[in-house]
Symmetry: C2
Subunit: 473 residues, 2 copies
C-alpha cells in the first residue's frame, strides 16, 4: 500500500491510528448517506483534540490541501462530502465526543463537536435539564454538524435554531490557531460576535471543536392536539390564537395537508386517521410545561373551545395519554416515509414570512402546474416558524425517474416563487453543494461580496470545504 | 456664519433642514449625557431615510471624514460621543422613527433605528403583543443604539439580549451601499449571519437603519416575590430551584445585598424595608404568564414552600396586588439613585459564569480591599444571567473626589478578577471609549486580529466611529 507524502506528514503529526489512508478505509467517508454525492480524498483524519485539529489544519494550509469537515453524515445538501479532488483530506470529529462540563445552576453544557445529538439530550435529561434541539437525525447527527449548518428541527418555534442555543465555541482556524471562546456567559458585550459567524458557515471558515450550550428547564408535562382545518389561512388564525393564549408553552405547531394523511394511510401500516372525516388540512400542536398537568389540560381545553367557537378549526382531538401523544406525532413523522415509499420525489426546505404562506401555496402551485400539470404536492412543515417542506411527487402513472428528468425545472419555479415572497431557499438544511447555484442567484451581490471577503479573512488559502456554500472568485 | 465646504456638500445631498452646522446647533450633540465625554464636529446630520444615510456615508468615505452614529444618547461608555477631531460628522437617527410594519400572525415588527424603545413596547402592547426589551433608559434610548450595543436589561433571563430579538436588519455600509436584510424569517440558513456581526458592533462597521424584531405573547399575569437569603450561594441555589420548577415563566431574578437596602432606606423616601429584620442578601423574582393568575400564584406558593423547607431562603414575601409588585421593584430600582445620592462612585458592569459568582464576590472583595481597605461595595444585578453591577463607593469620611483620584486602580483590580474567572468586562453596556483599553488587554490577540480584519472588510477607509471599541492598527 502506498500513501502520499502528505498523508505521512499527517501521521507524523497526530499518529497512525488517527489517519486513514487505504482506499478501503477511506471509501465510507467519500459519499453522503443518500448516495447523491461522491468524492475523493487522500486521507481521512480522526483527531482526538483541538490540538490535533490544529496540527492537521496548519499542515493543510501550508500545502494548500483542501479540508472537508465531517460530522454524522446526515446532511441533505452534500455539505460534508468531498469534491473530486484527489488531494482532499476529510476531517472527522467523531472521536471528539466528550461532555467537558455540565452545570445545573448556570444551565450550561460544554460538549465536543463529535457528540451525538441524542446523547447530549440524554446527558441533559439525566440532570433534570432539557437540551431542546431535536430533529429526525438526532440518533446519528453530531453537534459539530448541527453547529456548522445551524440546524433547526421541531422545537424552533419555542427554543430557536441551534445558533440561539450557543453561548460560546472553541474553533480551529485554517492556519491552526485555536479560538478559545468557550464562554458560558449569557451576557458578553465585548466586540463582534465571532461565534455567530462560524455557526452556520458550513465548515468554510474553520472547524468548531466544542461549544458551550444553553440548557433549559425540563418540561415533563405535555399535551398534544390535532385540529382539522379547512385551509392554511385558517391554520394561521389558529396559530395566532394559540400563540396569544399559550405563549412559550407552545413548542410545536405543525401543518400538513389532507393529501399527506392519505399518503400515510396508504403506505404506513398501523397509523390511524385522526378523524372519521377527511379534512383539507391538519394542525398538530404540542404544549409542554414544567409542572401542573391539570392546569395545562385546562388551558388547552379552554383555547380549543374558543377556537371552535370562533371557527378557527373544524374539529379537534386532544391527547390524554402518552400513547396518544406518540400516535399523533407518528402521523406527522411518517409523512416522509410514506412519500419515500411512493417513490422518488422533490424536496424543498423553504421558509416564508409566516403571514404569506397561504398566498404562496396558491401561487406556487399555479406556477408548478404550468410546468407539470399533474404533479402531486405533499405539503407539510413547521408552520409556527414559517418553514415548509414543499415536496412534490411525480404524476400518477409516470415512471420512477420522472423527477430525475424533470425535477430541476420544477425546483427552479418553486425557489423563484419563494424568493418573490422574501422567503428563504434554505430554511434549515443549509446550502452545501446542492443549493450553491441558487444561493448565488438569490443572495444580493452585496451580501455575497461581504461573505467572500469574510471568508478571505478566516481562510486566506481557501482550503476550507471548497465547493460548498460560496463560490470563491 | 461660515460652514465647511464639506458641510455644504452634505446640505446639497440631503437638504439644509437635515444638516446642522452652527456651533450653537451642534453643541448639544457633542457630549454624552453624564458629561464624561465631549468632542467636536463640523456638522450634525439628521437623515430621514436609508437613502439619506447612504448619501452621507458615501460622501464621508470619499473624503475620509469620520462619522459618529448617534441614538438616544443614553449610553454609559461614550460610544456615541465624537472624539476631538474637528472634521467629525455626527449622524443622528432620531428622524427615522417609523414603525414600517406590524404583524400579529408572524409576530414581527419592522421598526426604524430612531424609534424610542418605550414607543416600540407600546406599539406591540397595543396589538396584544410583547416586545420584551426593557431597561432603565427605555423612555429615551433608541432602537438603533440598542442594536449597536446589543442592549440587555431586566428580562434577559427569559427573552435574551437584543441580538436574540432580531430577525433581520437594514444597514448602510460606509461606501453608501444599503444592505437590504429586513427579513422576517425565523429560519434562514443561507450563508454567514451578517446581521449578528453588525449588532453589537457599536457603529464601527456601518449604520443599522431599521430592524425586523420578534414579538412575543403578552404576559399580563404577574407574581413577584422578595426572598431573604443568607449568602449569594444560597441565592444561586434558590435560582436553581425556581428555574427547574417555573421554567420560562421566570422573567427576572435579581439579587442585591443588605448594604444596598440600607442605602435605599437612607436616601430614598417612601420605600419600605421588605422584612422586619435586616438580611445579608435579597432576591427579587418575577414570574409572568399569558393567563391564569390562580395557577401562577399556586405555583409560586408551592415553590416558595419548598424553598423554605430546603433552607434555600430565610424568609419570603409574595406580592398580591399590582401596587405591591411595583413597591417591590422600586426597592431594586432605586439602588442606583440611592448610590448617586451618596456621592460619586465606581460602576462595573460585568458578567461571570453564574456558578462562580459567590467565589468571585469573596475574592474580588479581598483584592479591592488590598487597594482600598475601607471601600463600600454595593453589589446588585441580574443574577439569573450572571450580570453583576459591581459598584463601589468611597470610604466613609472621604471627599467626593476620592474615586476620581483612586478609582482607576480599583477598577483595574475588579476587571482583572473578572477576567480570571472567564467573565466579561462588559456584560451589557458595551466598550465605547470607556473600556477600550481593557478590551484590548483582555481579548485574545486572535480575536482582536479577526475583529480588525472584519472591520477592514466593512470599513476600509476607517471612517466609522473612530476611537470606539477597536484600536485599528
Amino acid at each position: 500500500m502506498t500513501i502520499t507524502a502528505f498523508a505521512q506528514r499527517l501521521i507524523d503529526a497526530i499518529g497512525a491510528d488517527s489517519v486513514l489512508t487505504s482506499a478501503d478505509d477511506i471509501a465510507p467517508w467519500l459519499a453522503d448517506w443518500r448516495g447523491m454525492y461522491r468524492g475523493n480524498a487522500q486521507a481521512v483524519v480522526r483527531p482526538r483534540s483541538a490540538e490535533d485539529v490544529s496540527k492537521v489544519l496548519a499542515l493543510c494550509q501550508q500545502t494548500a490541501t483542501p479540508v472537508v469537515p465531517r460530522g454524522g453524515n446526515t446532511g441533505l445538501c452534500g455539505g460534508a462530502t468531498p469534491d473530486g479532488a484527489a488531494q482532499n483530506v476529510v476531517l472527522s470529529l467523531d472521536r471528539m465526543n466528550a461532555v467537558r462540563s455540565l452545570d445545573t445552576i448556570a444551565n450550561t453544557m460544554v460538549a465536543e463537536a463529535g457528540c451525538i445529538l441524542q446523547d447530549l439530550q440524554r446527558t441533559a435529561s439525566d440532570v433534570n435539564r432539557l437540551f431542546p434541539l431535536s430533529l429526525a437525525a438526532e440518533g446519528s447527527c453530531q453537534l459539530g454538524g448541527n453547529l456548522a449548518t445551524n440546524a433547526g428541527g421541531v422545537n424552533v418555534v419555542r427554543y430557536g435554531m441551534t445558533r440561539e442555543l450557543v453561548l460560546g465555541i472553541e474553533a480551529v482556524l485554517p492556519n491552526g490557531e485555536i479560538l478559545h471562546g468557550l464562554r458560558t456567559l449569557r451576557k458578553d458585550n465585548t466586540g463582534y460576535d465571532l461565534k455567530q459567524l462560524l455557526i452556520g458557515s458550513e465548515g468554510t471558515l474553520g472547524i468548531i471543536t466544542a461549544a458551550a450550550l444553553r440548557l433549559f428547564a425540563p418540561t415533563p408535562v405535555r399535551q398534544v392536539v390535532i385540529a382539522a382545518v379547512t385551509s392554511p389561512r385558517q391554520a394561521l388564525e389558529l396559530y395566532e390564537l394559540l400563540f396569544t393564549e399559550c405563549g412559550s408553552r407552545m413548542q410545536a405547531f405543525e401543518f400538513f395537508t389532507g393529501e399527506c394523511v392519505d399518503l400515510v394511510m396508504a403506505h404506513v401500516p398501523g397509523v390511524r386517521a385522526p378523524f372519521g372525516e377527511r379534512h383539507p388540512g391538519y394542525v398538530l400542536v404540542e404544549l409542554a410545561d414544567t409542572a401542573d398537568e391539570q392546569a395545562l389540560a385546562a388551558l388547552l381545553e379552554r383555547v380549543i373551545e374558543t377556537a371552535i367557537e370562533r371557527d378557527l378549526c373544524a374539529d379537534a382531538v386532544v391527547s390524554s395519554t402518552l400513547g396518544q401523544v406518540e400516535e399523533m406525532w407518528k402521523l406527522r413523522e411518517e409523512i416522509s416515509e410514506a412519500q419515500r415509499a411512493d417513490g422518488p420525489h422533490l424536496k424543498h426546505d423553504v421558509s416564508l414570512p409566516i403571514e404569506a404562506i397561504p398566498e404562496f401555496l396558491t401561487s406556487a402551485e399555479a406556477r408548478v402546474r404550468r410546468v407539470c400539470p399533474q404533479v402531486r404536492p405533499f405539503i407539510f412543515g413547521h408552520f409556527g416558524d414559517g418553514n415548509l417542506h414543499y415536496n412534490l411527487s411525480r404524476p400518477a402513472g409516470e415512471a420512477a425517474d420522472f423527477m430525475a428528468k424533470h425535477g430541476e425545472a420544477i425546483t427552479a419555479e418553486v425557489l423563484d416563487e419563494v424568493a418573490r415572497y422574501g422567503g428563504s431557499i434554505s430554511a434549515e438544511h443549509g446550502i452545501g453543494q446542492l443549493k450553491r447555484d441558487y444561493f448565488a442567484k438569490y443572495k444580493s451581490p452585496l451580501e455575497l461580496r461581504l461573505m467572500r471577503e469574510i471568508k478571505a479573512v478566516f481562510d486566506p488559502a481557501g482550503i476550507m470545504n471548497p465547493g460548498k456554500l460560496l463560490k470563491v472568485q
